[in-house]
């Protein structure tokens, strides 16, 4: 059966349609997930020539995977089609699938149909015959009593069937394949409602541009299930969910469909997911996730030297505090009120409400490749240093927040033996704490605290809190030198940097070297050489950014992989 699935997969790759709507119009109404490749040839070529993939093929671990029989068989199959039909794979792909491919699936049950629109009926016919021959041959290998080929008439169209998983048909230059007999029959006999096809095309319109592959998912149907209803009723008053992903859940909840598009280009790759949920219709109590009109969604990402990852987001604590009753369940509210009461003890002359009002809504987080030991008892596996940078609405916030930090440190001092010093880093006064190495902490037998030497400083209108002092200098420099741009419309951005990861591997190679020795039984020398090769590969990967944006007409989640100049 695996070989038959391989053939089905090879079919997908070896095929694809012209007008975007053509194969899509044949997908049955019942499908709740539809994937369309409008130009399969371009899609396959873009994937094959994508620099990160090309360079990954040089890694020994990947080369080894290409020796797997199943992978080899896949390429053998392509070669076989080429030889039987006396053409090369690109021409074959264009002839058989030049007008596009659409795949429809019913997620509940797993029935799937592939509709492939070619440009030359004769080639499609020859191709199908070649596939049938192969399937028959493989079926004979798999069983003592191989399945017989069955033929069924559907008006002018003959369908062919092997066992339970292989069903196919041809109508001119259009090929149909399915893993479920009933699904194929429905595809051949029923004409999908135009309204259903149009609804799916809405997804394509929402995506704009020219994605190499796009997808429509029926959110309305998913939400109408018991599981969907339960999810929305359970998350509506969950403070954590509302704080972290409240905006996204709300946007998905207001949309009938989800559209996703994949575009591959030499300079990078992006995946865009959009739902038709307007920014103006966001639940008012979730306004903490969306800045007022005319203000940036998030501040620019900070990219200090040695950055591994950077995050920037909008989250307005003041709005959260005002709307808290609508965002929390009763237990969470009781805990929150108790917490407010406890913290208020450290806020003489102030209050939590004031603190939240003074705190700015823009937050940034950076992770840097700072791993040098901080203590004699430094943990063997260092955690890279990181820093939080929060804006202030009111300069008074600096005093209140640092007061809370000092009070918290003071409380922890007797048990952890924290000592405080003040240092000047890049002309900024920084408060630095260190843990005592002589004290045993029952709550931290692992010595996790020795990864940290917490520190904080006020830099302009930012509160900066670092996990260790050596992250502050690059962060301070980055804050001073960043362009005072208007920021970005996205309300949440996170970016990971390939060269940062490469640098980290260079500084701490042991985990990867060991993994290579234990996973593939490499010698130490070979594992060290391969580790260097992997680090060098990361250098070529550029950066991957994920962003969330509540736009006027839709909600967008986007993943952008940008390759560095040298790799383009």
């Amino acid at each position: 059966m695996l070989r038959i699935r391989l053939i089905m997969f090879a079919l997908l790759i070896a095929t694809t349609p012209s007008p975007a709507s053509d194969p899509l119009s044949a997908i049955p109404d019942e499908a709740d997930l539809v994937i369309v490749l409008e130009k399969p040839t371009r899609f396959v070529e873009a994937g094959r020539s994508f620099p990160a993939i090309v360079s990954a093929l040089e890694l020994p671990a990947v080369k080894e995977l290409f020796r797997l029989p199943n992978v080899k068989q896949f390429f053998d199959l392509i070669a076989l089609y080429e030889s039987e039909l006396q053409t090369d794979w690109k021409t074959l792909l264009n002839d058989v699938a030049g007008n596009g491919i659409a795949i429809g699936s019913k997620t509940d049950g797993g029935a799937a149909v592939i509709v492939i629109d070619g440009t030359k009926p004769k080639v499609s016919e020859a191709f199908l015959n070649s596939v049938l021959k192969l399937v028959a041959r493989e079926a004979a290998k798999d069983a003592d009593k191989p399945e017989e080929l069955r033929r069924v008439k559907h008006g002018d169209i003959d369908s062919v069937h092997f066992g339970k998983e292989f069903h196919a048909a041809r109508n001119g230059a259009r090929l149909y394949f399915a893993n479920n007999e009933e699904a194929l029959h429905k595809t051949l006999l029923n004409t999908p409602k135009k309204t259903r096809t149009d609804a799916r095309l809405e997804a394509r319109k929402l995506l704009s541009g020219s994605p190499d592959a796009w997808l429509w998912f029926d959110l309305a149907a998913a939400k109408d299930t018991q599981a969907g209803r339960d999810f929305y009723s359970a998350t509506k008053r969950d403070a954590i969910q509302n704080l972290v992903v409240g905006g996204t859940i709300d946007a998905l909840g207001r949309a009938d469909f989800l559209a996703a598009g994949l575009t591959i280009a030499p300079k990078g790759l992006d995946v865009t997911i959009r739902v038709p949920s307007k920014r103006s219709e966001l639940r008012p109590e979730l306004a903490m996730h969306v800045p007022p009109a005319g203000t940036p969604g998030s501040l620019p990402l900070l990219e200090p030297a040695g950055v591994l990852a950077s995050m920037s987001l909008y989250l307005d604590a003041k709005t959260f505090y005002i709307e808290r009753d609508k965002l929390m369940n009763d237990n969470q509210k009781a805990d929150f009120d108790q917490g407010v009461k406890d913290i208020s003890k450290f806020l003489p002359g102030s209050s939590i409400r004031k603190l939240f009002e003074q705190m700015g809504p823009y937050h940034r987080l950076v992770m840097l490749d700072r791993v040098a030991p901080l203590y004699k008892a430094s943990p063997e596996q260092p955690i890279p240093g990181f820093a939080y940078i929060g804006t202030m609405r009111d300069p008074a916030y600096a005093k209140t927040a640092t007061g809370i930090l000092r009070a918290a440190a003071l409380i922890g001092t007797p048990s952890s033996g924290l000592t405080m010093t003040e240092q000047t880093i890049e002309s900024v006064n920084v408060v630095v704490y260190r843990f005592s190495e002589a004290k045993q902490l029952q709550d931290d037998l692992e010595g996790l605290r020795f990864q940290f030497s917490p520190c904080f400083a006020i830099v302009g209108d930012n509160l900066v809190v670092g996990s260790r002092p050596d992250v502050l200098a690059p962060v301070i420099i980055a804050l001073r030198t960043e362009k005072k741009s208007e920021g970005d419309p996205a309300v949440w951005r996170a970016k990971a940097y390939g060269n940062g990861v490469a640098g980290l591997i260079g500084k701490i190679p042991e985990p990867l070297v060991t993994n290579l020795m234990l996973t593939r039984n490499l010698s130490l020398k070979a594992a060290e050489a391969e580790t260097k090769q992997i680090a060098a590969w990361f250098e070529t990967l550029g950066a991957v950014e994920f962003r969330l944006d509540h736009r006027e007409r839709d909600y967008e989640m986007k993943l952008q992989w940008t390759l560095p100049e040298a790799a383009k």
């Binding site: 596996q381 692992e446 010595g447 701490i508 060991t514 020795m517 234990l518 039984n521």
Partner: protein, 445 residues
Amino acid sequence: MNIDQHWKRYEPSSANPWTLAKAGHLLRRTGFGPTTSELQQALNDGPQPTLDRLFSEAKHSTDAAQASEYAARERSLPRDAGGTQLAAWWLHRILNGSKPLHEKICLFWHDHFATSIVKVQQARFMLGHYRLLSELALGDFRKLVNGMSFDPAMMIWLDTVESRKGKPNENYARELMELFTLGIGNYTEADIREAARAFTGYELLNNRIVFSPRKHDDGDKTVFGSTGNWNGDDIVRLCLAKPACAEFIVRKLYRFFFSDLAAPTDDRVRTAAALYREANYDATTLLQAMLRSEHFFSPTVYRRKVKSPIEFAVGIVRGLEGNIGALPLAQRLENLGQQLFAPPSVKGWDGGRSWLNAQTLLLRGNLASALTSTRDSAFTDRCDPVKFLKGDVSPVDSLTKLFLQDDLPESAKDKLAAYADAHPKGDGIRSLTHLICSLPEFQLA
């Protein structure tokens, strides 16, 4: 009592010749399955030179030793490393090292002093535990038990670090007598209570074991009728002074190296125990006598043990001179019920017939297939029978000789030959290997 009377040395003769089957038997029991050249060398050399070689302190090859030491560094194997990585580290030594008997006896002691990362939670302590086993595996049992009493992993595992004056924890004292030295029936509850007081006062502080004199009970204790201000080493000394101790260890060694089914006769136990005591609990002296005996090579011992999952899998890989990663193998072995550094209880693995049931047999078959089919993404073609046979024209002969020393029913061999005739190449050879590794005979050590 004369050792030769009950552990008579095996001397090859025309009536009882040194054969490939005997060589295979010796190498399986003292290691994890031989390679073709190891088998041939043992057959050519005879039993004594083979045993001498096994007992000699052969060093690991430079590459394997370097890799193993690197993988044991703190950054490679940090305190919070998972149990699977830790198991893989040891498996890597078993797969690549050149001291199979040493690793085998380490496995015996690991099963004997069964200590698990599941409770200890600190990979560095478990590594230290292994190093203690490794250092004294073939040496002085007294030193080993003394070391074990204050081994951080053991002290966490059996709660010695929680034991205080006035509130002694009895776990270690109980297992020291019941499972590590004497066996049930050779001590009283009062002995345990008193002995537990000797192990008080140790704490885990900043990942180090620290002795706090004020928390130690330094009063007199009466153990086995002897009274004194005994400390932990004294309790070990008192245990080892009892004749039951050496006999207990001999019985356990017998079960591990000889037979799952039959227990040794009392005479055999007594004579071996006497030798063990005379040799000051030196494991090498005892094992050399036991493994060189005619009894060890007799039909009552031959194929009277079920292979543990590690013996099963490593036997295939070593036999085929494969080069697979220890990590994916360790993951698969967990499904078969054997994760190194994580025995199921303080009694160790039940072993024997309990290794086999309908599910584990199926999983053994699947593992053999994953290792040899070249289709598994974790093992790829790193243990490929086709590469190993290098165009050998009689694969059935070569493989049955390697894995079963040709000792299998004719009917089974005929069926294998018929299969090989019908599938003489590529995947056919791989399936043939899988079939051989699925035979009942291959499940036995």
